[in-house]
Symmetry: C2
């Protein structure tokens, strides 16, 4: 849980080039690829999680303290629960700095999602 190494979304290969799955319109998804992609979409399928993710992504540097984004209309434990889900899916990473915990958008997440949607053309 408190690993210091970068945790990457199973969907995303750090290798730079090709994401896990072919573009969604390029051909029939394999069951395995569908499973991975669905997990990513699932993480963003809750309005509260989407707002948290958006708040972090739109912060300068793509990172924000929990205290800066916690105002989304649900209790503090619920915010923590959603952030954990986003972290487990690999969309966010977290880092403690003193009293506060900062969440960052995982590198190349948005770019990888774009690739899945076939934007190369």
């Amino acid at each position: 849980m408190s690993k210091s190494e970068v945790v990457e979304l199973p969907v995303l290969q750090e290798d730079g080039a090709v994401p896990c799955c072919p573009p969604i319109t390029a051909g029939e998804l394999s069951p395995a690829d569908a499973e991975k992609m669905a997990a990513m979409f699932k993480a963003l399928s809750d309005p509260v999680r989407l707002r948290l993710f958006s708040k972090i992504a739109s912060h300068p540097g793509g990172e924000a303290c929990v205290c800066d984004i916690a105002d989304v209309g649900v209790s503090q434990p619920t915010v923590s629960h959603h952030l954990k889900k986003l972290r487990e899916t690999g969309l966010l990473t977290s880092e403690r700095r003193g009293t506060w915990v900062y969440y960052q958008v995982a590198p190349s997440v948005v770019a990888a999602m774009s690739a899945l949607l076939d934007l190369r053309s």
Copy 2:
């Protein structure tokens, strides 16, 4: 249910230019926008639905008969249930032609999703 006019995803404006929601990284999402976007992601957050969508999207013309895509490892009623959800979300449209029912990818769905992910840069 059997409307002949094109049913469009609430998330998507047919106007061509701007989708309902600003790019996810451009700023904090409003609660209302988050709700709409989450609904779209939710529709794609199930592996079976994602495979069905992918099968249709990768078919020539972006449409396919149910009989052509029903082989995804679940019962036929379950397939129908998932297709209904995709239709209700506005990602697919359906049309009966004689014995068979054809599902099509709703126009500009993928493009609109791309816009949400901020691919302008």
